[in-house]
C-alpha cells in the first residue's frame, strides 16, 4: 500500500507539474486538476461530517458545552438541508448568507479591533525590546498617516512618511518574508514529489 500511495502521489505531481512546462501535458494536467477539485470537494464533505460526528459524540456523552454543540449541529444540518433542497442561489440561502454568515464575520472582525488594541498594549508592557518598539511605532505611524483630516492628509506623516515606510521599508521585509515562504513551499513540494515526505500515510 505504501508503494502504491507513493507512486500515485509522485506520478500525479509530476504530470501536473509537467503540464506547466510542456504543452503536450496540458490536457492531462487539466484532467487531473479537475479530478483533484472533485476530490477536494468530497474531502470537504468528509471534514464536515467529521465535525458533525465530533459534536454529536459530545452531545451523546453530555459533556460540558453540549448545548452549544447541539446548536452547531442543528444549524449545520438545517442549512445543508435547505441548501441541497433549494440550491445555494435560493432566497432562503441568501438570507442565511446575508443575515448570519456575513454579519457574524464582520462583527467578529469588529471585535478584533479591541483584541488587537489590547494585544498591542500588552506587547508594549511585556516586551519593550527593539523589535517591539519598531513594530508598534511603524503601526502607529502608518495608522496615523492613513487618517484623513478635513484639509486632506496629515502633513509630513500622511504625505511623506507613510508612503515611504509602507512602499519602501516595509516592502523590503515583506519581499524577504514572501521569498522565504516561497522557498519553504518549494522545498516541501519537492520533498513530497520525491516521496521523502508522505503526509498521506506511510513512513
Amino acid at each position: 500500500m505504501r508503494v502504491i500511495t507513493a507512486f500515485i502521489a509522485i506520478t500525479t505531481g509530476v504530470l501536473i507539474l509537467g503540464g506547466y512546462f510542456f504543452p503536450a501535458l496540458a490536457d492531462v494536467q487539466t484532467l487531473l486538476l479537475n479530478w483533484a477539485i472533485i476530490l477536494a470537494g468530497a474531502a470537504a464533505l468528509v471534514g464536515i461530517f467529521n465535525l458533525i460526528s465530533v459534536h454529536t459524540d459530545k452531545i451523546r456523552r453530555g459533556e460540558k458545552g453540549s448545548t452549544y454543540s447541539a446548536l452547531l449541529v442543528i444549524g449545520l444540518v438545517a442549512t445543508f438541508t435547505i441548501g441541497i433542497l433549494l440550491r445555494p442561489q435560493h432566497s432562503a440561502m441568501q438570507i442565511v448568507l446575508s443575515g448570519i454568515i456575513i454579519p457574524a464575520e464582520a462583527a467578529l472582525m469588529g471585535v478584533l479591533t479591541i483584541s488587537l488594541l489590547y494585544a498591542a498594549i500588552r506587547l508594549l508592557r511585556r516586551r519593550t525590546d527593539m523589535m517591539g518598539i519598531v513594530f508598534l511605532v511603524t503601526a502607529a505611524l502608518l495608522f496615523l498617516g492613513s487618517a484623513t483630516m478635513r484639509s486632506g492628509d496629515i502633513p509630513l506623516i500622511g504625505t511623506l512618511i507613510r508612503p515611504w515606510v509602507s512602499q519602501i521599508l516595509a516592502l523590503g521585509g515583506a519581499r524577504g518574508i514572501l521569498i522565504g515562504v516561497a522557498l519553504g513551499t518549494l522545498t516541501t513540494g519537492i520533498r513530497v514529489l520525491f516521496g521523502v515526505d508522505r503526509p498521506y500515510g506511510g513512513q
Partner: protein, 229 residues
C-alpha cells in the same frame, strides 16, 4: 402580515451582531451561542456549495448526461470519492489513503508551480525593476531616489532572508551560534521584519476598524428603521 427578506436579514444580522459584540464584556454564553451557530451554518453552507457547485456539475452531470468518454473519465474521481468517504469509517479509512495521496501529489505540484511562477520570479523581478532607471525616469523619479529606494528594498529583502538562516556551528564552549556577520545582518533583518509586521498590523487594524464601523452603522440604521414604524 408579510415580512420582506430585507427585514428578516436586518433582524437576524442585528441579533447576531449584538450577540457577538457581547464578547466585549467578556466571554459569555450569548457570544458562544452566536459563534457555534455561525460555525454550524457556515459549514452547512460550504457543504451545500461543495455539492451544488463542485460535485454535481463536475461529477454528477458527466456521469448522468455525458458521452461514453466523459462517463469513463468521471468514473475515476467517482471511485476516488467513494474511497474518500470511507475515511469516515475507522475500519475502512486505509483505503482513503490512495485518494489522499492523489490530492497531496496534485497539491504539491500546484503549490510548487505557484511558489515559483507566482511568488519567486515576480518578487525577484519586482526587486530588480527598482533599478530600472528608464522606467523610473518615465515616472519622474530621479536617479538618486531610484537607486536609494532600490537599495533599501534590496537590502530589506536580503537581510530579512538572512534572518531566517539558522545554520550554526559549535563554539569552543559548546554553544551553538551563527557566524558574527550573519548575526549582524540578521539583526538588521529583524528591524525590517518588525517594520513589515507593523505595516501588516496597521492594515489589519484598519480593516477590522472598518468592519466595526460598518456593524455599528448597521445597528444604528436598524434602530432608525424601527424608529420610523
Amino acid at each position: 402580515m408579510t415580512f420582506s427578506p430585507d427585514l428578516i436579514i436586518g433582524v437576524i444580522s442585528f441579533i447576531f451582531t449584538i450577540l457577538i459584540f457581547s464578547y466585549l464584556i467578556g466571554d459569555n454564553p450569548l457570544f458562544r451561542i452566536a459563534v457555534y451557530l455561525f460555525v454550524g451554518v457556515s459549514a452547512g453552507y460550504v457543504a451545500a456549495i461543495a455539492v451544488w457547485q463542485v460535485l454535481i456539475p463536475r461529477l454528477g452531470y458527466p456521469l448522468w448526461f455525458g458521452s461514453l468518454n466523459e462517463k469513463i473519465f468521471a468514473a475515476v474521481p467517482l471511485l476516488g470519492v467513494l474511497f474518500i468517504f470511507m475515511k469516515a469509517s475507522s475500519r475502512l479509512s486505509g483505503v482513503a489513503r490512495m485518494t489522499m495521496a492523489f490530492l497531496v501529489g496534485a497539491g504539491a505540484a500546484v503549490i510548487l508551480a505557484g511558489a515559483v511562477i507566482g511568488t519567486l520570479i515576480p518578487q525577484v523581478e519586482a526587486t530588480i525593476n527598482f533599478f530600472d532607471l528608464n522606467a523610473a525616469a518615465s515616472r519622474n523619479i530621479g536617479f538618486m531616489e531610484a537607486i536609494g529606494n532600490g537599495s533599501i528594498v534590496l537590502a530589506g529583502t536580503i537581510f530579512s532572508l538572512v534572518y531566517f538562516h539558522f545554520g550554526a556551528s559549535p563554539k569552543a564552549d559548546g554553544s551553538m551560534r551563527r557566524p558574527k556577520v550573519i548575526e549582524i545582518i540578521a539583526w538588521v533583518g529583524r528591524i525590517f521584519i518588525g517594520i513589515t509586521l507593523g505595516a501588516i498590523f496597521a492594515g489589519v487594524y484598519a480593516a477590522a476598524l472598518t468592519a466595526l464601523i460598518e456593524r455599528i452603522s448597521s445597528l444604528i440604521n436598524f434602530f432608525k428603521l424601527f424608529g420610523n414604524f
